[in-house]
């Protein structure tokens, strides 16, 4: 068989199908809701030479775009160097070390070579977010860790499965170091099953078209994806586009962190320079290199969603390593905030830089925080303890085609929020309000979407509240004359006294007793375009629907006085 363009398309769909089936198998069989329902996982195919991405499942969580190619590449490198044991057929490596091409510790990767005639043809790898991997706080999102050891168990690449059988000794070590360990076996089995399904499907594809032809197709697809991305980049007028995005604080030192980005477009290449960004920080808002790179890919994918995810598509994106900044964290810097928060701020920097040259494609900044509120506590009279998470969305940015979406998922996620009724069934809390946050959308010709406003009361026992959120100091950025979205607000009412956390959006272990309340108002999206240009009928409708007060609408959307008036 020769590689005609039709066979190329068919092999392209075939590789995509292998990944999509892995995604589906993983979610279907996984035990944890975070994987089974929230789809906090991803699967892909990686090259045998350097782990570069061949294809990735379309149902994976966006934050994982391109990320596993770094961990797979590291494993290949370490095998070659003899620092990791070489694989045999049926072996699966497990790794979650953030500094070896990872994200945070909770994202646990499996990687398995696919063998053909005694040689490795390619690798399959997947990532699943485990509900817990040990460390100081349940769930791993500490707002105030100062080293990675406080964040959980760190696994170098080791073969958890050997010749298709799980090594019970390694598994025992893992289980002794994580919470609710008895449930993890369901996720481990699912994660391995996804890889085996991928192997079977890929083998069928290889048998049908031949290894050499598929290899040739992979190379051709890579160069065509690069070509496609270059064609898109060519829409950007040559020049350097700058932006700055802020993180409220690292959770330990109460001062903002800056992401400074300069994107230079030169024909069909785009280079990203983060120099001048803040130095590595004491708290957990550092990002490892792999996460920083993936965040750029993720942002570009949001901008050009039609370009398939593969190493070829990333080729024209030249990202200079942000050495010496908090976006290239080294051991033992704490990193638990990187995947959930820093990644979104990197994406915001990319959006803010490119909305000028690509006004039809890019939106004003979205809420850009996972809005993690954790409540861990106990009800002594019932003899039970609990850990509750409320992960919240916010408003998206306005864009050329319309207003931003209200209460959208984080930039890096695609999961649904749990219903209030389910939360109240599972935890001793009562929601007094779960509402649209009025007035929060940034003003603009196309305004930002609205954030969420909820208030929750602890009904029984005692608990500790923790917050890992962001955009408490500055709101999501407006674009092209639009206003910023409203900032994130946290209010804790204890014994009738209401306070705001010192770090605004981050706090650890605030003690609560029955009757105490937490109120969170999440950010609105940035506005797009001059608010004075907004259709007055739309302004009036927003007032009629109570989304803005009449006074606010007048202030935000009133046409600026013309020079003559002044």
């Amino acid at each position: 068989m020769t590689l005609d363009p039709i066979t190329l398309t068919v092999i392209q769909s075939g590789l995509q199908q292998v990944c999509d089936e892995m995604d589906l198998t993983f979610s279907r069989a996984a035990f944890s809701p975070v994987i089974a329902e929230a789809n906090d996982r991803s699967d892909g195919i990686y090259s045998a030479e350097d782990g570069s991405l061949i294809a990735q499942g379309s149902q994976g969580l966006p934050v994982f775009v391109g990320v596993m190619q770094y961990s797979t590449g590291k494993i290949i490198e370490m095998i070659a160097a003899g620092t990791v044991t070489a694989p045999e057929p049926g072996d699966i490596y497990i790794v979650n070390d953030p500094y070896l091409g990872g994200t945070h510790l909770m994202d646990v990767r499996f990687a398995m070579p696919v063998w053909r005639n005694g040689r490795i043809f390619c690798w399959l790898s997947n990532t699943g977010h485990w509900p817990d991997t040990g460390g100081a706080v349940p769930g791993g999102f500490s707002a105030s860790a100062t080293s990675v050891e406080q964040e959980g168990l760190r696994l170098p690449p080791v073969r958890l499965f050997k010749k298709g059988v799980m090594d019970p000794e390694i598994y025992a070590i893992i289980c002794s170091n994580i919470r609710v360990a008895e449930q993890r076996i369901g996720d481990v089995k699912a994660q391995a099953a996804a890889l085996y399904v991928g192997e079977a499907r890929l083998t069928r594809l290889l048998d049908r078209y031949g290894d050499a032809l598929v290899q040739e197709a992979i190379a051709e697809l890579r160069s065509r994806a690069a070509q496609q991305m270059r064609a898109r980049i060519a829409e950007i007028a040559p020049g350097t586009y700058r932006s700055v995005a802020y993180i409220d604080s690292d959770g330990v030192v109460n001062a903002p962190l800056e992401i400074r980005l300069a994107i230079t477009a030169s024909g069909d290449r785009l280079s990203f320079d983060f120099s001048g960004s803040s130095a590595p920080c004491a708290g957990p808002m550092n990002s490892v290199l792999a996460t920083t790179l993936s965040s750029v890919y993720l942002a570009m994918r949001h901008i050009f969603p039609d370009v398939p995810i593969s190493a070829g598509a990333f080729e024209p994106l030249e990202i200079q390593r942000p050495e010496g900044t908090f976006l290239d964290a080294q051991y033992p810097r704490p990193v638990s905030g990187c995947a959930a928060e820093v990644s979104q701020r990197v994406a915001e920097a990319v959006f803010a830089a490119l909305v000028g040259p690509l006004p039809q494609r890019v939106t004003a900044s979205p809420a850009g925080s996972s809005g993690n509120f954790a409540l861990g506590g106990e009800v002594p009279e019932e003899g039970r303890s609990f850990v509750m998470y409320q992960i919240s969305g916010g408003g998206y940015g306005g864009y050329a085609g319309g207003d931003g979406i209200s209460n959208g998922c984080s930039t890096i996620g695609i999961s649904k929020a749990p219903p209030v009724e389910i939360m109240e069934q599972q935890f001793p809390v009562l929601y007094h309000r779960y509402a649209l946050r009025e007035g929060s959308g940034g003003a603009g010709q196309h305004r930002g979407g609205f954030g969420l406003d909820y208030e929750v009361e602890l009904l029984k026992g005692n608990a500790r509240a923790s917050f890992v959120m962001d955009h408490g100091r500055t709101g999501p950025q407006g674009a092209l004359g639009g206003g910023d979205g409203a900032v994130n607000e946290v209010r804790v009412t204890r014994g009738g006294v209401t306070t705001t956390p010192e770090h605004l959006s981050k706090a650890q272990d605030i003690p609560l007793v029955a009757g105490d309340r937490v109120r969170v108002r999440t950010p609105g999206g940035g506005g797009y375009g001059d608010p004075a240009l907004r259709d007055p009928a739309l302004v009036a409708e927003d007032v009629r629907l109570g989304r803005y007060s009449a006074e606010a609408a007048e202030r935000l959307f009133r046409p600026a006085p013309s020079p003559q008036d002044a």
């Binding site: 039709i6 809701p33 496609q228 979406i405 209460n407 959208g408 009724e421 779960y434």
Partner: protein
């Protein structure tokens, strides 16, 4: 067991066996209104296909009766599938509806579940079903346990009702938090609302599904309320028109679970009629497959603008009560689980930015449609490829209007696809079908896997206008050995109206660790569900052959959020039965055993099914029209492109001899669809006139 015995008694009230008298099944589709008339006494069938009248569907219904020369006054039963509610929801042509809800929660319907329409591209629009100014709050609050936290403020409620009436709302939703656990406040509010509200259009949140999740329950109720007056007016008008023609018996309306309910009460649960058309087709497929001895089917319904896939196991269609009919529009009532997987014959073929040929997901839609429709389409589509390769009869060009020629289609393929790919027009058309087949097969596979099954264990049931054109190629790609092509693939939905059962499904949330469940209370729940279902069927005054009651539970391991449905043998399972059945079902589905983790019982479910008398499907093709030999059924031949051009015999389906066997390459044409058999495929005809194709392996 007492309940089952009563069930048996109940069925004895009805005379089993053949349908007596005449039935008309009438299905309104996007383009055509189809009718199947069945006269049981003579096992005689008449068919009609007339244009759908979108402004008022009842006109098309009457046209169909006229076209089939059916005397409405002589009919014993009319079963009707309507898209009135589906279209109203999808096009947002809804009645003005108000919502009264728990203090602090009026925005639930607007906030949704924190999602966006696509994973990539942070854009999109969402319009809640009920605008914010018509969503009012009153003080009241239940806890998750069902205990009252804040009493219902009746004064505030009356004020809210009057405010909505003053705002000209025609329909009302009362939706309180945790009403599934304790509906007392909703029930009391409904009493007061009946005093204040000018009409009967009042929907209670817990009434359609008594299940937690406030967004899904609220949207389901809001859909119901906002289409209820429309459906009520529509069925009343249709019943009046039919009465003018002398039809005074009960009119039944198809529902999305593949059952049907009386027009007199269908508007009470109007949301259940949304998506009833596709469900009806799947019911017909299940019925046909059961009679053909092929009870395990994947249905492949390909039309001009969409392709739907469903799974049938043991002649029972997979049902889901978690269907989202479009972005952020969940309708959580039990519905046949039909998945839209593609754009149908109108899928566009184009060269993408990387120079690769891609087919779909964009579609030419119905306007302008494919080039071959002659309605102004200029972009190559799957339908056009079929036309160019001789698979479709060139006489079917310009089905609607226009003066397109094959040469026009050829030029479009040569220019837009062939030139950039270095292929002839034929080569390009063949490439389009090859890619389309691969993609559609992948999509069918994903549906199958997501339901936990290997597609190779099923036969493909091909229907819709374009299903039989592609089914054999897709089956080959999937490794599916057999394809079942029913006698009348183009009117399958209308056939569903004739063969479907009366059906009522009940879901009640328990949501407790299995170990903590009061089993006597679980049994009592089942008993209440049976009672309700039997009463509902009795209200419908329709002849049934027997009454079947099935039970299931939805369970999960504690800590999980996804549910697994477990079928039960009866309404009185012990705790140990449930534990064991769940473990078995979990292992079957996920190949994982988790003995370390404790199970929870989430929902108890009952389906009460009134089975209608048997319909003889062999009447669908008139025996008198059949020719004695295959040669006499042949209408000619034409050149058809498979791997190369083949002179291919063409047969007229209605003329095939009763025991025909066909070997590919062959084309079988009928009124509204075409079956393509590739070289190596063979088809035999069964007693009901189905063609069973044995597909050549890849």
């Amino acid at each position: 067991m007492k309940d089952l015995d009563q069930t048996a008694d109940h069925s004895a009230e009805h005379s089993p066996g053949q349908i007596s008298g005449q039935i008309a099944g009438i299905d309104v589709g996007g383009t055509f209104t189809d009718l199947v008339f069945y006269d049981a006494t003579q096992a005689r069938v008449r068919l009609a296909k007339v244009p759908t009248t979108l402004d008022n569907q009842s006109r098309g219904v009457l046209d169909a009766l006229d076209a089939a020369e059916v005397d409405a006054a002589a009919l014993d039963l009319i079963v009707h599938g309507t898209t009135t509610t589906t279209n109203a929801v999808l096009e947002r042509r809804l009645c003005r509806t108000g919502l009264i809800t728990t203090m602090g929660f009026r925005d639930v319907l607007e906030l949704g579940r924190r999602t966006r329409p696509q994973a990539y591209g942070m854009k999109g629009q969402f319009r809640p079903l009920i605008p914010r100014d018509l969503r009012l709050e009153v003080p009241e609050r239940m806890l998750a346990s069902g205990a009252v936290h804040t009493a219902l403020d009746e004064v505030a409620l009356r004020q809210a009702l009057r405010a909505l009436v003053a705002q000209d709302c025609e329909s009302l939703v009362i939706h309180f938090l945790h009403a599934y656990a304790n509906p007392a406040h909703e029930l009391r509010a409904a009493e007061i609302a009946r005093e204040e509200w000018p009409n009967g259009n009042i929907t209670l949140g817990h009434a359609l599904l008594s299940e937690s999740r406030e967004y899904e329950r609220g949207v389901t109720a809001a859909v119901n309320a906002s289409v209820q007056p429309l459906l009520r007016r529509y069925v009343e008008r249709l019943a009046d028109r039919l009465a003018e023609r002398g039809y005074t018996r009960d009119l039944l309306v198809m529902t999305g679970n593949g059952g049907m309910v009386s027009a007199r009460i269908v508007a009470e649960e109007a949301a259940k009629t949304v998506m009833s058309g596709p469900a009806s087709g799947v019911m017909a497929a299940a019925y046909t497959g059961r009679r053909a001895g092929i009870p395990d089917l994947l249905t492949y319904d390909m039309g001009g603008t969409s392709t739907d896939v469903a799974m049938i196991r043991g002649a029972d269609p997979a049902v889901s009560h978690e269907i989202e009919i479009e972005y952020a529009m969940p309708i959580h009532v039990p519905m046949v689980d039909v998945r839209t997987v593609g754009a149908g014959g109108g899928s566009l073929a184009r060269i993408d930015a990387s120079g690769l040929l891609q087919v779909g997901p964009d579609s030419a839609g119905s306007v302008p449609g494919p080039i071959c429709y002659g309605k102004g389409g200029t972009e190559p589509t799957i339908s056009d490829a079929n036309m160019l390769l001789g698979r479709m009869n060139p006489a079917r060009l310009n089905t609607i209007q226009g003066d397109v020629t094959l040469a026009d289609i050829e030029a479009a393929f040569a220019q837009k696809l062939g030139a950039p790919l270095g292929l002839s027009a034929t080569g390009a058309a063949s490439a389009v079908l090859r890619i389309a087949t691969a993609k559609m097969a992948d999509a069918v596979r994903m549906v199958s896997i997501s339901l936990g099954e290997d597609p190779r264990d099923f036969a493909l049931f091909a229907f819709g206008g374009a299903g039989p054109l592609h089914a054999c190629d897709i089956a080959r790609e999937l490794g599916v050995p057999r394809v079942l092509v029913p006698a009348r693939p183009g009117i399958t939905n209308a056939l569903g109206c004739i063969v479907a059962d009366l059906r009522h499904d009940y879901v009640t949330t328990v949501n407790r660790p299995l170990a903590a469940c009061d089993m006597a209370e679980v049994h009592a729940q089942f008993a209440r569900q049976i009672e309700e279902g039997r009463a509902a069927i009795a209200r419908e005054r329709v002849k049934i052959a027997d009454l079947r009651v099935t039970h299931s539970v939805d369970m999960q391991f504690i800590g999980q959020t996804h549910l697994l449905r477990v079928a039960l043998p009866g309404p009185a399972p012990t705790r140990e039965d449930l534990a064991e059945l769940f473990e078995q079902a979990y292992f079957r589905r996920f190949q994982v055993a988790l003995p370390e983790i404790r199970p929870a019982l989430v929902n108890v479910n009952t389906s009460v099914i009134g089975r209608r008398p048997e319909v003889d499907l062999s009447a669908l093709i008139d025996a008198a029209g059949r020719r004695p030999t295959l040669a006499e059924a042949r209408t000619g031949s034409r050149a058809v492109f498979f791997d190369d051009w083949h002179d291919t015999p063409v047969y007229w389906r209605d003329h095939l001899p009763a025991s025909a066997t066909l070997a590919g390459p062959a084309i079988v044409e009928q009124m509204d669809c075409t079956l393509v058999l590739s070289p190596g495929d063979t088809a035999t005809q069964d007693a009901d006139g189905n063609l069973i194709v044995t597909v050549r392996a890849l």
